[in-house]
């Protein structure tokens, strides 16, 4: 019958799409290159499969009912309107399923709140509409802005492959190193989000939040601002480049040279001297 068959088609399409989602990159959550992104992916897929299971049963019963108990096929309505056993069943079982799902979620969350020492700290400040990165221990500081041109945005020239996901100065981190991120903002709330690293952290003006990443594979990973921050919210991407330890050291010294050339004053030395004198 028309409605029943249509329901079946809807249901099967959903299943098909679900399977396709798993197989095709670019439409599912990335597995990612960080232990956290991978744990999150597994949790996400587990939840998804559980929902598929519950959906299959619920919609299966519904579909069956819609086909079998049609008045047009002569079905006569029963009169029951309660059944203690089944009601307890479908209260208790979902609760147990939720507990089963909550346990891995709790564990992954504990891993995210890992307080172990990190080897590197980067302070990230969100501005309207760019990011500032400060490698606090190395004395490096730079802004990172969208490098896609206005002409591309206004359709005057062909768009780059990484349209809206490219910046002038990338964040460089060494692989297999725990990097602590201190996140704040200058003006409004922004959010630092890189899907393949499994990290999203709100940047709140006046407050500092911390998070961490550990990239297991060299490569370039792109993300975007994850909190509406005004007109150009879509135009302040993030690009993280993970390199070997040696390359990272080289990059740092290159930047430090630039920083040293810029800064030519002895204010801080004088300030430290004054303190020493004060307490002598």
């Amino acid at each position: 019958m028309q409605n029943g068959i249509s329901r079946i088609i809807l249901f099967i399409s959903f299943c098909f799409l679900a399977m396709k989602a798993y197989a095709t990159p670019g439409i599912n959550m990335p597995y990612g290159v960080s232990p956290i992104s991978q744990e999150i992916y597994n949790l996400h897929m587990a939840a998804f499969y559980i929902c598929c299971g519950i959906g299959a049963i619920t919609f299966g019963v519904l579909l069956y009912s819609l086909i079998k108990f049609r008045k047009s096929k002569g079905a006569e309505a029963a009169h029951f309107h309660e059944h203690l056993g089944i009601e307890i069943f479908w209260t208790v079982i979902p609760t147990l399923i939720l507990v089963a799902l909550a346990i891995p979620a709790t564990i992954v969350l504990k891993h995210i709140h890992n307080t172990e020492e990190s080897a590197l700290t980067i302070k990230i400040t969100g501005y309207q509409w760019r990011w500032k990165y400060e490698y606090l221990d190395q004395g490096i500081s730079f802004f990172s802005k969208l490098s896609t041109t206005q002409d591309q945005i206004n359709n005057k020239t062909k768009k780059d492959d990484w349209y809206l996901l490219e910046v002038d100065n990338e964040v460089v981190v060494p692989v297999n190193t725990k990097v602590k991120l201190l996140v704040t903002a200058d003006d409004v709330i922004h959010a630092w989000w890189v899907p393949e690293l499994g990290v999203k952290q709100d940047a709140v003006p006046g407050f500092i939040n911390e998070n961490w990443i550990l990239v297991t594979q060299p490569g370039t990973y792109r993300g975007q601002c994850g909190e509406l921050c005004g007109v150009n919210h879509a135009f302040m991407p993030i690009v993280v480049k993970a390199v070997s330890q040696a390359e990272f050291v080289k990059w740092v010294s290159g930047h430090q040279k630039v920083a040293e050339n810029k800064l030519q004053d002895d204010s801080l030395d004088k300030a430290k001297a004054a303190i020493a004198a004060h307490h002598a």
Binding site: T115, L182, F207, E210, S267, A271, H278
Partner: protein, 192 residues
């Protein structure tokens, strides 16, 4: 229709209106409630905004060392140089320490500023206590004035053993238009 019906309406309506007014008030009550919970639990990196008295009975826990990092942020277009003079210090819980931030007014005129502290991780925030801090009051700077700004703090020994690193961050805000009438405390400030 019974004539008591309108009276029932009035009474119930009155009760519900009181409920509505209560909820409006509750919204405003959320503000101090939030402050209280944040301070107590150290949420949002909030620490105490006023001096903590030193407890003479406080024991220094020499078995542990915590690294306390410092960082600074300027808010908006504020033209100041505002940096910590030490990247970090290592302290035992219970040990008091004095550290300094360097501030230089580069705005070209006199100005009042306010430093807002924020501490991470959340679990540690309420245990980082200050006995003296330039953030307790607004700070007034003459044109081109430079100063070393003190923070006298300790990490309460009750802090969880998991905590090995704490970051104390200050954001410096331009307080123009919000100047308070109280005396600016320049206690401990070293002018340069």
């Amino acid at each position: 229709m019974s004539s008591s019906l309108p009276k029932n309406h009035k009474r119930l309506t009155l009760i519900l209106v009181c409920g509505v007014l209560f909820m409006f008030g509750f919204c405003y009550m959320l503000v101090p409630l939030y402050e209280l919970v944040c301070k107590k639990e150290g949420l949002n990196g909030r620490s105490v905004k006023s001096a903590t008295a030193l407890d003479p009975k406080m024991r220094v826990d020499k078995s542990r060392v915590i690294k306390v990092f410092f960082t600074s942020t300027l808010h908006g277009p504020l033209k100041f140089r505002f940096v910590p003079l030490q990247r970090y210090v290592e302290v035992h819980p219970g040990e008091t320490k004095l550290i300094y931030f360097f501030a230089e007014n580069q705005t070209g005129h006199e100005i009042t500023v306010q430093a807002i502290p924020s501490i991470t991780p959340n679990d540690a925030a309420r245990f980082l206590k200050k006995t003296e801090c330039f953030c307790f009051t607004q700070q007034y700077f003459f044109k081109k004035e430079k100063a070393d700004m003190p923070v006298y703090f300790f990490v309460d020994p009750a802090v969880s053993k998991d905590i090995k690193e704490i970051t104390l961050s200050y954001t410096l805000f331009d307080a123009s238009g919000f100047e308070k009438k109280q005396e600016h405390s320049t206690k401990g400030r070293i002018d340069l």
